[in-house]
Structure formats: C-alpha cells, structure tokens
Amino acid sequence: MNVRAEFLPYLIVMAGVTYLIRMIPLALIRKKIKNRFILSFLYYVPYAVLSAMVFPAVFFASGNIIAATVGVLVAVIVALFSKSLVLVAGCSCLSVFLTELILRFFS
C-alpha cells in the first residue's frame, strides 16, 4: 500500500482536468438559456451522447460478441416495459452469462 512520489503529479493533472471540464460550464452558466435553438439542442444532447456511448461499444463489452448482442437486445426489450435500472441491468447481465454458458457448452 504505497504511493510513489512520481505518481502524484499525474493524479493531480488527471483529476484536475477532469474536474475543470465538469465544473466550468456549471459555474459559468447561471442564467436560464432563452434561445430556442440552444434549448432544443440541449434537449436532444443527453440521448445523443448516451446512445453514441452504448453503440457500437457494447458489442465489445463482454468477452464474446454474440453474448454481448444478446445482452443489449435483452436490455432494450426490458427497458421498453420497465424504467428500473436494476432490473434492466440485472436481466442483461444474466442473459450474457447464460449465453456464454451455452456457447461454451457447444464449443
């Protein structure tokens, strides 16, 4: 359990840059934005960001592309009926686990 002296500057730069990116917009934009284009843009941003993060990265997130595909399909189907994050994530993980078991059995 040691921390090397040469590690600390990296830690400070890493954490500092990451924090500043998150902090500056929140600290500077104090007023309500009125511009309709910007409001519209911001309305769509969360879903555009999150979906681009999921696809196609999710297909490579498990050890096996078939299992990952099953996992994301299960997540989408469960999310159509439930807003519970735990349920969606749980079903998805379980389906990946089972698919990998089946694939191993046949390979």
Partner: protein
C-alpha cells in the same frame, strides 16, 4: 416542481453504484496489471470518478508519459462532460449557488447525469448530492477490491458484468425514445455516426487517432440536426429533458 429529496436521490443512486462496482472492479485489476499500487488505483477512482478517462490515464502513468499528454488525453476523452454540464446547468434549480455548483460538478458522470435528466422535474442540490453517494462508494470500493482480489473471479462473471453499465444507459434512453419519436430519430442518427467511426475505413482511421472526440462529434451533429428540423415548442418542454 423540484425534485430535492435526499432519500429519493440515495435510492436512485444505488443501481448506478452497483453497476460502477463491477466496472471499477475491472479497472482495479487493470491498474495492478499496469504496475500501480492498490492505493494509487483507489486514489485515482476517488478523485476522478470517470471510466474512460481513467482507463486511458493509467497506461500513461505506467509508460511514464508526459503530464501534457495526460492533460490532453483527459481533456479530449472527457470533453463530453462539458456538454452534459451545460445541460445540467439548465436542469438544476436556478437558485443553486456557486459553491453548491462546484460540489455538483464533481459528480456529473455519464450515469448520474442520465438519471438526473430522466426526472421530469427540475432537480435540487440535496437530491443531487444524495445521488452521488452510492456511485462514488461503488466506484471507489470496486476499484480497491478489484485491485486486491483481482484475478480471483472467473472470467465468465467479469465478462457478464462488463455489460452492466451499458444496460443502464440503455434503460435511460429507451423509455424516452418510446415516447418521443424525434428523440428516436436523434438517437438513430447519433448511433449511425458512432457506428461509422467504428466500421467505415476513413472515419475509423480518424477514430483510432482521435477516439476521444467521437462521442462529442456524434452528439453534436445529431442534436444540431434535430434542433434545426424539430425545435422544442416551449421552455417547459425543454425543461423536461
């Protein structure tokens, strides 16, 4: 209406915390493999609270890279947070003061952001602070346990857990896509561009050099197109986002 319940925030944070635990576990294992000590891995997770940035940062430390390289890598990979913080600035109750905003900023991760945006009310600082607790504990706890207990878990388990974080993001996006067809179009465009960066020859070259820019490009293009062809009707609708 303002969502500012401590209890609600704490509960909403639990599934994120569980998801983070599994991903941080993998990060802990990877940090040890790169030659960091368990305490160093833990310090990174406690202060950064971000997956992609940490995964990119550890090899730079391991390889003895420059601090400029570290700063530039973090800036590019984490640039999407600036976009999310702009959105969050509009979602936060407007009387939130500067010091409170400085605290909120620390916890603006992809998933915490996603969950706070999924509320159809404005959100208050108390709710947001409470929302940060479980994810922070899960992320830090998962890192140290992964670093210490590392390779003990069978691969089939860690592999299944790797999908958890993506499933959580799916759970945030899908209900919105179901109720708003314009959001669905926006998501489709963003995903198409994102897949283009993975599979199309020229774009793929770009992504292998400037991977950190991919998400912000996809989101900016898709959101701009939709803001032009289908702007939100009223301020109320914009606040629902």
């Amino acid at each position: 209406m303002i969502q500012n319940s401590f209890k609600r925030g704490l509960l909403d944070g639990v599934p994120i915390g569980l998801g983070y635990f599994s991903v941080a576990f993998a990060f802990g294992i990877m940090a040890i493999q790169c030659g960091l000590s368990p305490l160093e891995a833990l310090l990174i997770s406690m202060t950064n609270l971000t997956s992609a940035g940490q995964l990119a940062g550890v090899p730079i430390i391991a390889g003895g890279g420059s601090l400029i390289e570290m700063a530039a890598t973090q800036l590019i990979i984490n640039s999407r947070y600036a976009l999310m913080s702009v959105s969050l600035s509009q979602k936060l109750e407007s009387k939130t003061n500067l010091v409170q905003r400085l605290l909120v900023a620390f916890g603006n991760t992809d998933e915490i952001f996603a969950v706070s945006m999924a509320n159809n009310k404005k959100i208050g600082k108390i709710y947001f602070y409470a929302l940060m607790i479980a994810p922070w504990l899960g992320w830090s706890g998962g890192t140290i346990i992964g670093a210490l207990a590392g390779a003990a878990l069978p691969e089939i388990i860690t592999s299944a857990l790797g999908v958890a974080i993506y499933a959580m993001l799916v759970a945030v996006v899908v209900p919105k896509v179901k109720e708003d067809k314009w959001c669905a179009i926006c998501v489709a465009i963003s995903v198409l561009i994102s897949c283009g960066f993975e599979f199309l020859p020229l774009l793929k070259d770009f992504a292998s050099n400037y991977g950190g820019f991919v998400i912000i490009i996809c989101a900016t293009v898709a959101s701009t197109i939709l803001a032009l062809i289908h702007p939100v009707e009223t301020e109320e609708q914009a606040n629902e986002c």
